[in-house]
């Protein structure tokens, strides 16, 4: 089935997938030392429940959610907690982040969860959601949004659709494609668990039309599962169709409100890898302690997909792919469009690490010198948020906050399409990222001023009313007194 094409903008980019999809997924060796940042998910950092010197087993919870929007963290290896201290973190581009550090004892002792839930269909959705939370599962597409929170927010909703995102968000990344090819059954199992947890009755698995093998594997898995609620939709391969909002529009032909969530239009979206992680937790009792990471680029000898434990230093993944080539120049986490350039390969894989690109000069494109904007409009043609990046850029240059707001800077998803096509070679995304905090502060200040004005006016009205009532009561009493006399 073909999706309605509701997406405007976007780029046809070379996905560079064939390099990393030639070999099947391999299991990377467990790290000698695992570094686990406590804030590797969206929201608040987790709070450690182990202390230095403790012995932990594979899959043992080591940190609990620090707030409503937070997630559990589990030990990916067995061994001893050697430190709980700030360590440079990949998702912070090398900035330090409080982390639990575990030294591997090589025994692979398994932690046995309190309960196993393989017959998920016989428990209530509420119980199931709570159990999913215990698995430390977060969105594996890159944003690392705690899955349980997404599910909890969707309670008491009718007519929900579950969308499983199998569209790779960026060039070079192929971990979702390989997962769909090799572990389609996990995805379908996870989809059924999520459907039950959400009490939803429709699930769409969306993938790009450039991955026919993945589509075939999923079709076969769906035939085995024989679940009429789940269907497959292919969308055109057009960056950034893997973005949540863009994919929803491509699949359902509807837009997510700018200030809202997919849930506001009755959609819960999860990455296919997240669904597979849910399956492994519910079916096999294995929490989120490993994930598939694409290791690719011209700078690595044998590009491939690896199943890596969370906390594995990137250098060990590179070693598992036979090391660097002499051409390596830069190390990216994520794809070439939105990926973070990492300062060092000693940083560890986090739950959100979908891809490591060891890039050579061939993979990167040298920027020509920046020229002034000529308003050619190439950027607005490709913008998937329908913005006018040329006007935002002009407003940012002029420090014009009203202009930034009018042209919708806050709706920019930083996909980099405008930057890619700009003939003046302006680093637009960088400029927009710099301007966003200023605009956010301005909007915040204005919103609180409005609230203050409202409260002030309400108070004045209330005081005036009370005063009028007091006078009225006084008048009434005087009248009564006069009558008595």
């Amino acid at each position: 089935m073909l999706a309605r094409i509701g997406v405007r903008g976007g780029l046809r980019l070379d996905a560079h997938k064939e390099r990393s999809t030639a070999a099947p997924i391999a299991v990377a060796p467990a790290p000698r030392v695992a570094v686990l940042p406590l804030d590797q998910h969206a929201g608040e950092a987790a709070i450690p429940i182990v202390s230095t010197g403790d012995t932990v087993a594979v899959g043992q919870p080591i940190a609990r959610p620090g707030a409503e929007l937070s997630a559990w963290l589990h030990a990916p290896i067995s061994g001893r907690v050697v430190a709980i201290e700030p360590r440079p973190a990949a998702h912070r581009a090398g900035e330090a982040s409080m982390s639990v550090v575990i030294a591997n004892d090589g025994r692979e002792t398994r932690y046995v969860p309190e309960r196993s839930l393989s017959d998920y269909a016989n428990i209530t959705p509420l119980e199931l959601r709570e159990w999913i939370e215990r698995g430390g599962i977060v969105g594996l597409g890159g944003a690392a949004f705690p899955t349980a929170v997404k599910l909890a927010r969707a309670t008491d909703r009718s007519a929900l659709s579950l969308l499983l995102n199998g569209a790779e968000c960026e060039p070079f990344i192929s971990c979702d494609e390989m997962l769909m090819r090799e572990r389609a059954d996990d995805i379908v199992y996870g989809a059924r668990v999520l459907l039950h947890a959400l009490e939803a009755d429709e699930c769409v698995i969306a993938l790009e039309d450039s991955s026919p093998q993945a589509a075939d594997a999923l079709r076969a898995a769906l035939a085995r599962a024989d679940d009429a609620r789940i269907r497959l939709v292919t969308v055109p391969t057009l960056y950034p169709v893997g973005g949540e909002r863009q994919l929803i529009t491509a699949v359902f032909g509807r837009e997510v409100p700018s200030d809202g969530w997919p849930l506001d239009i009755g959609i819960v979206s999860q990455n296919v890898a997240t669904a597979a992680a849910v399956a492994r937790w519910i079916r096999d009792g294995e929490p989120l302690i490993s994930r598939i990471v694409t290791v690719t680029g011209d700078g690595v000898a044998r590009p491939r997909n690896l199943e890596a434990r969370v906390g594995t230093p990137i250098a060990e993944l590179i070693a598992a792919c036979d090391g660097y080539t002499p051409r390596v120049e830069r190390l990216l986490m994520g794809g070439t469009m939105m990926g973070i350039a990492l300062p060092s390969d000693e940083l560890a894989v986090v739950k959100a690490t979908n891809c490591i690109v060891a890039a050579s000069a061939l993979d990167l494109q040298q920027r020509a010198p920046e020229m002034p904007c000529i308003r050619c409009g190439n950027c607005s043609e490709v913008c998937p948020a329908f913005l006018l990046p040329q006007q935002i850029h002009a407003s940012a240059r002029a420090n014009d906050l009203a202009g930034l707001e009018r042209y919708g800077l806050m709706d920019c998803i930083e996909c980099g399409c405008c930057d890619y096509v700009c003939p003046s070679q302006i680093p637009l995304v960088e400029r927009f990222r710099t301007a966003k905090p200023q605009l956010a502060a301005h909007l915040q200040a204005r919103a609180s001023a409005r609230a203050s004005r409202l409260r002030y006016e309400n108070r004045r009205e209330r005081l005036a009313r009370l005063e009028a009532e007091r006078r009225a009561r006084l008048e009434e009493k005087r009248r009564l007194a006069r009558q008595k006399v």
Binding site: L13, A93, G94, P171, R245, T249, E255, V256, P257, S258, G260, A315, Y324, E329, R330, L332, G334, T336, M337, G339, I340, A341, L342, P343, S344, D363, L364, Q365, R367, A368, P369, M371, P372, C373, I374, R375, C376, G377, N378, S380, E381, P384, A385, F386, L388, Q391, R406, G408, D411, G416, D419, Y420, V421, C422, P423, S424, Q425, P427, V429, R433
Partner: protein
């Protein structure tokens, strides 16, 4: 192992302002070639003079403004301005005309406003408009095209060069022997003298659609324009809207009174209609910037071109129409901001 970092995106398309301008120059070549075929080598001399002046003026302005010379001199924008202006001037116009017009375009219309990307008016059209209002006689003195029965005198390259540089025709030639009005000018004069459209169009300078020779030059411009569209250097909105609104105006008036008003085909193939639609109005810096804005902007150019040609004081109106709509661009841009993803509509 440690690595240098950089901000995403880590890849960009190998597209530059210089490449866009080079493609525009290439797309102008067919027009220029046919221009030379029909009007002699004058355009070559004018182009060389214009380019030399433009680069010199650009270098001077960049030096005064303290900008990097090499980067901006090689971006090709000054050359495009120079070529567009040269194409608008009569092939035998004296050298000081093209030199002063180009210098004015680059120094005042472009750099006085802040240089590349900041000029609110199309520099070439500013240069042309200044020359047209200052020296109308010289600007409207065209040559007859080199087609059977129209050209009586043939000037060699060196004679052309001498004429342009000295302002004097070679021995024993008089100006009225070598000049001829442009088709638009001729039609206008004839109608002003009280001729009907039929009588006016009977003159040998007119072909099936527009002026003889001019038809072919315009066809080459159309081809160059389509090439730019296919190469995605320009987008369809401006040329289509401008030509459509020009044709619409012409059709309405032609339907009302075919004896007084020229038809749409004549307007589309005469003067600078096609050059304007594909090469002049599409200058992105001075045009509106959203799709809808560009449709409005270019429709305005089409209507104004028709109005100026038909009722205004000059035979062609593209230059003034473009400048007038340049003036309206900030307003158009303000009211044509597209709806953003996830927003109901523009408030």
């Amino acid at each position: 192992m440690r690595f240098p970092t950089s901000a995403p995106p880590h890849v960009v398309a190998p597209n530059t302002v210089g490449r866009i301008m080079r493609l525009v120059i290439y797309a102008l070549l067919p027009t220029m070639a046919l221009h030379v075929v029909f009007f002699g080598p004058g355009l070559i001399v004018q182009s060389v003079l214009a380019i030399a002046t433009a680069l010199a003026a650009e270098a001077l302005a960049l030096r005064l403004r303290g900008r990097p010379l090499r980067l901006y001199l090689t971006d090709g924008t000054a050359v495009v301005t120079a070529l567009l202006l040269a194409l608008c001037l009569p092939p035998l116009a004296p050298w000081w005309l093209v030199v002063s017009g180009t210098a004015f375009a680059i120094l005042l219309a472009k750099h006085a406003f802040g240089g590349l990307g900041m000029n609110i008016f199309n520099p070439a059209m500013v240069g042309y408009a200044v020359l047209l209002v200052s020296f109308p006689a010289q600007l409207l003195t065209w040559l007859p095209p080199d087609v059977a029965g129209l050209r009586s005198v043939e000037l060699s390259f060196s004679q052309t060069l001498t004429t342009i540089l000295t302002g004097q025709l070679p021995d024993a030639l008089r100006w009225d022997a070598v000049t001829s009005p442009t088709p638009l000018d001729a039609l206008r004069t004839s109608l002003a003298m009280g001729m009907t459209m039929q009588e006016a169009r009977a003159s040998p300078i007119f072909g099936t659609f527009g002026g003889r020779g001019w038809e072919w030059i315009n066809l080459a411009t159309l081809a160059g324009g389509i090439a730019l569209l296919l190469l995605r250097v320009i987008r369809w909105h401006i040329p289509v809207a401008m030509l459509a609104s020009l044709a619409a105006c012409a059709s309405v008036m032609y339907a009302l009174d075919p004896g007084t008003y020229a038809g749409p085909m004549f307007h589309l193939t005469s003067g600078a209609s096609l050059l304007g639609a594909f090469f002049i109005a599409t200058d992105p810096v001075s045009a509106a910037t959203s799709d809808r804005g560009r449709l409005i902007y270019a429709s305005g150019i089409g209507v104004l071109t028709y109005v100026i040609r038909t009722w205004g004081g000059y035979p062609d109106g593209v230059a003034f129409a473009v400048l007038l709509m340049n003036l309206a661009v900030p307003l158009i841009d303000r009211y044509t901001i597209p709806r953003i993803y996830g927003h109901p509509r523009r408030p």
